[in-house]
């Protein structure tokens, strides 16, 4: 996929964009070397290379760049699959996934996850673009760095684009005359494209296909979530002194030498809001589920369950309230529960199904 310095990928992107930007030349596109020591080094290298490539005004392909994003007051290093720099100075995040796109559509859940992931990269790139602009002493735009759709599109249809595809191809990928000018007009605000390129296998083959995915919504969500995150210092302050989740790996880097009890105690010191959805995404989910079940919390049966139960939070409390042993009869939740219990037992009795559930043939028709 990324062979020839991502030429195939850039070609796909250009084809999907269809915005009249100059077509990449027949040979490999520029693919700067991004190797450096450590994440900080790689981030700095990426930033520098991005600046150079943007100034060059040509298609450029960044394989596994490294970006930094501040999460809850601490830098997190991100590694997108690729970034493509457009001749007009725009940057597009590329996300390569292994799930197939059959007849132009893919599993919605997986596409959603990919879009959320890419949105984080776009956000990180936006921060970088802000710094980039400041460095070049261009006014404004830093705060709006990512995701200003309208302006982005106008930039993409800049004056040099009117010539259309064919004309540009004859230019052989050389820098269009209007390039730098358009870049100035658009400014850095629109530098990071809010549409990411999702690359998937096409149908049942190994040939790639790509689709542009608009991540503005995911961007807004992520930005809001990041702004609401409690800072790490505050989180750490709430923990007992000396809490650590270090596995104390042995020299082979695989075996944990830390005693299970110690680790368990450390994990226990942190609250968890378990919901069954966690099982799909989190390695600690089984642990949290065990704890939630042991505590009899209703969330172990699904997030939606809470809605109708008012302030009854444990299975025991719900059952007691339904049986009429506890709970305030004036509470609408308790009242509804008792009504539900009465209706349910009436229906089961009517079907002569009553009592214990699962002895196969005992079911009679009501």
């Amino acid at each position: 996929m990324k062979a020839d310095g991502g030429a195939e990928l850039v070609r796909l992107l250009h084809e999907r964009l269809g915005d009249g930007s100059p077509a990449p030349g027949p040979g490999p596109v520029a693919a700067p070397d991004l190797t450096a020591a450590g994440p900080e080094g790689r981030t700095a290298r990426t930033e520098l290379a991005l600046r150079e490539a943007t100034a060059a005004g040509e298609w450029a392909f960044f394989d596994h760049p490294m970006l930094a994003l501040s999460v809850a007051g601490s830098p997190a290093y991100l590694e997108p699959d690729a970034i493509v720099v457009h001749p007009d100075g725009g940057w597009t995040v590329v996300e390569i996934k292994s799930f197939p796109m059959v007849d132009g559509s893919a599993d919605a859940a997986k596409v959603g996850a990919a879009a959320r992931q890419a949105a984080v990269y776009v956000l990180a790139l936006g921060e970088l673009a802000g710094r980039h602009t400041d460095g070049e002493e261009r006014p404004g735009g830093a705060a709006r760095a990512a995701g200003d759709g309208l302006a982005d599109r106008t930039a993409a249809r800049g004056p040099e684009g009117s010539g259309g595809d064919a004309a540009d191809r004859t230019a052989g990928g050389a820098q269009a005359p209007g390039g730098p000018l358009a870049d100035h007009a658009a400014g850095a605000a629109e530098r990071v494209r809010h549409r990411v390129l999702l690359v998937c296998p096409k149908d049942f083959s190994n040939t790639p296909t790509a689709e542009l995915v608009d991540v503005r919504k995911q961007l807004a969500t992520t930005r809001r979530q990041l702004s609401r995150l409690t800072r790490i210092e505050a989180l750490a302050a709430a923990l007992p002194e000396g809490t650590t989740f270090d596995l104390r790996l042995s020299e082979d880097g695989r075996t944990a030498t830390r005693p299970v009890e110690e680790l368990l105690a450390a994990v226990e010191s942190v609250d968890a809001a378990y919901a069954p959805d966690c099982l799909a995404v989190c390695e600690l989910a089984f642990h949290c589920r065990e704890r939630t079940r042991a505590a009899g919390a209703v969330e172990s049966l699904g997030r939606g369950v809470r809605g109708e139960l008012g302030d009854l939070t444990t299975v025991e409390a719900v059952l007691a309230a339904a049986r009429g042993e506890a709970g305030d009869a004036g509470d609408p939740a308790v009242e509804a529960l008792r009504r539900a219990a009465a209706l349910r037992s009436e229906a089961l009795a009517a079907a002569s199904y009553g009592g214990r559930p699962v002895d196969g043939g005992a079911a009679g028709c009501g």
Partner: protein
């Protein structure tokens, strides 16, 4: 999830035993269902690894792809699958009964009754889980556009005719499975979860092993314990004791057992090729040649050994795949047993009849030589399907409630129905020239339906008809309803059509046989919002690039089918291009 279901979940979680979620079976269960348990290769869309298939629980047919990346082996697998499945689908096509259907007369445009065939029974395919249903759709999509040597002598990998045919059947039942209440293709987890309520979340109910453990735990354990074991327990070899129901496999199995076995198979195959080459080239240097043996003899011996090794390696992969499939196969049949023990709901046969219509219609399309289903539905077809599904959902909701007091209890709790004892019957009449009976019933009930004056209510009569009524007024602890229909034509109501004092009655606020919304316009009046009227067949279809579409397959459609499937869509439905690294 309604409060009644939530409560049942809590009860189940409280003591670790599943609770009934229905008192009757709401899905048709065929006498002889076809069970398919597929496995797919991790990380590769639709590259099958193996499958167990069959109608006899004691003798499933095992199909395995020893090297899932090998296109020839994969195609052989699909051909075998078609061998195993297609006869089952086609077997129901010849046993027909006469039925009537109203069709628009092509000349007058009036609806007229036509005598048509309706298949007396239809096939039913059972898969373990919802992912299995998705996989059936994927298989259908990958198979139905395959070309046979007859259609196109130049096609690089011609398929036997039964392969695209099975693809069309799988596509059809995969589409049909989207219709609520249909039973041509059922996922065992979904059906079981419909009929039993466990003490775990919906999400965890997707695990067939855990779900069955809740419903029918081994003696001496609670469902909760058994489910936990089914989910997490691993044997001494690190593999799950209850392998996932697929089509995805357990990663530990992939890494520790399957990958090495496939590597051994690859090595054995390379050796076979090598040995064959050695023999033809008469190369005595290849392999371990005993010095006293003659060149040809040793080469033959080597070849023989290589073939032996290949067979052994293949057998190993087959056994491994079977070991993952067999527990799921047994689990599906276990589920069938549990479901069979439930009595069938009264209106299930009515829904199954619709499945039979669906089966018959597809049989007719296949026999008429129509092309495979398009890759994408055009706007008109999509709108029709959507509206049909909405209607089916409304019907299913009503029918399940009428069949099952437990479902009705949920509707009563939601204020969509009420039941109680008739405490008073007051005979009144309309003031028309021929007075009609309009008895007023006072019904004692604790249900609190949300009713406005003159709101329509419905009641199922013993003979299956629906009686209508209208709400009159609330009284303390009771409701007054005026019966407006279902009493016959006479001045006095037919016997039994008006409840007596002391009878228990159940009225619903929802219709019992809801019909869909307004009819869709004819295809030639499709509004521009839906792509406009279909382009006349033949020349220049808009949108799709028909220029390079190659030789068009022979297409003979019924006019109706041509109308709902615009040419543009058909032209786009050329088989998938063959690339050097196809998965399927």
């Amino acid at each position: 999830m309604s409060l009644i279901t939530t409560l049942a979940r809590m009860e189940a979680a409280g003591d670790g035993h599943a609770r009934p979620g229905a008192t009757v079976r709401h899905r048709h269960l065929a006498e002889r269902p076809l069970v398919l348990v597929p496995l797919t290769t991790a990380g590769e869309a639709g590259a099958p690894l193996g499958a167990l298939v069959g109608t006899d629980r004691e003798a499933p047919r095992l199909l395995v792809v020893a090297q899932p990346r090998d296109r020839d082996l994969r195609f052989a697998f699909l051909a075998d699958l078609a061998d195993a499945m297609l006869p089952y689908f086609e077997a129901y096509g010849d046993d027909v009964e006469a039925a009537e259907r109203s069709e628009a007369d092509p000349e007058t445009g009036k609806k007229v009754k036509v005598e048509v065939e309706l298949c007396a029974d239809a096939p039913q395919l059972l898969v373990p889980s919802a992912a299995g249903v998705e996989y059936v759709r994927l298989l259908g999509r990958s198979m139905r556009f395959r070309r046979t040597a007859e259609q196109d002598p130049d096609t690089p990998y011609p398929a036997p005719p039964r392969v695209p045919l099975l693809g069309r059947w799988l596509t059809h039942i995969g589409e049909r499975a989207r219709v609520p209440g249909s039973s041509l293709l059922l996922a065992m987890t979904q059906v079981l979860a419909r009929h039993w309520t466990t003490g775990q979340s919906n999400l965890e109910d997707q695990h067939l092993g855990a779900l069955l453990a809740w419903i029918d735990p081994p003696p001496g354990t609670t469902g909760a314990e058994a489910a936990l074991r089914a989910e997490l327990a691993r044997g001494a070899d690190g593999l799950l004791t209850t392998p996932p129901a697929g089509p995805a496999t357990d990663p530990a199995f992939d890494n520790r057992r399957l990958a090495p076995a496939i590597a051994r198979y690859d090595a054995a195959r390379a050796e076979v090729l090598d040995a064959a080459r050695g023999r033809f080239e008469g190369d005595p240097g290849a392999g371990t040649v005993p010095p006293e043996a003659s060149g040809a003899g040793s080469a033959r011996a080597r070849q023989h050994a290589a073939h032996e090794a290949l067979r052994a390696a293949e057998r190993e992969v087959r056994e491994l795949v079977a070991s993952q499939l067999r527990p799921t196969w047994d689990a599906v049949w276990h589920g069938v047993d549990l479901l069979r023990a439930l009595p069938e709901g009264g209106r299930v046969a009515d829904r199954w009849k619709r499945d039979r219509w669906s089966y018959t219609a597809h049989r007719d399309r296949v026999r008429a030589g129509e092309p495979p289903q398009p890759k994408r539905d055009d706007a008109v077809t999509a709108a029709q399907k959507l509206s049909a599904r909405e209607t089916a959902q409304a019907q299913l909701d009503a029918q399940e409630a009428l069949d099952d007091p437990l479902v009705m209890a949920g509707r009563r709790l939601a204020g969509e129905a009420f039941a109680g004892e008739v405490s008073e019957v007051l005979m009144t009449y309309t003031e028309a020239k021929v007075p009609r009976p309009r008895p007023l019933l006072t019904i004692r009930t604790e249900d609190r339906p949300y009713l406005e004056e003159h709101a329509k209510v419905y009641r199922a009569l013993a003979d299956g008809r629906t009686q209508t009524g209208e709400f009159v007024a609330y009284e303390p602890g009771a409701l007054v309803v005026r019966v407006t229909g279902g009493m016959g034509r006479g001045k006095t109501p037919e016997p039994g059509s008006v409840p007596d004092k002391g009878d228990r009655v159940c009225w619903t606020l929802f219709e019992h046989a809801p019909r869909g919304g307004p009819e869709l316009p004819d295809p030639e009046h499709t509004p521009w919002t839906h792509g406009g009227p279909p382009v006349a067949s033949g020349a220049g279809a808009g949108g799709a690039d028909t220029g390079d579409s190659g030789p068009a397959p022979v297409r003979a459609f019924e006019p109706a089918a041509a109308a709902v499937a615009p040419v543009a869509a058909l032209a786009a439905d050329q088989p998938d291009p063959v690339t050097s690294e196809d998965f399927l």
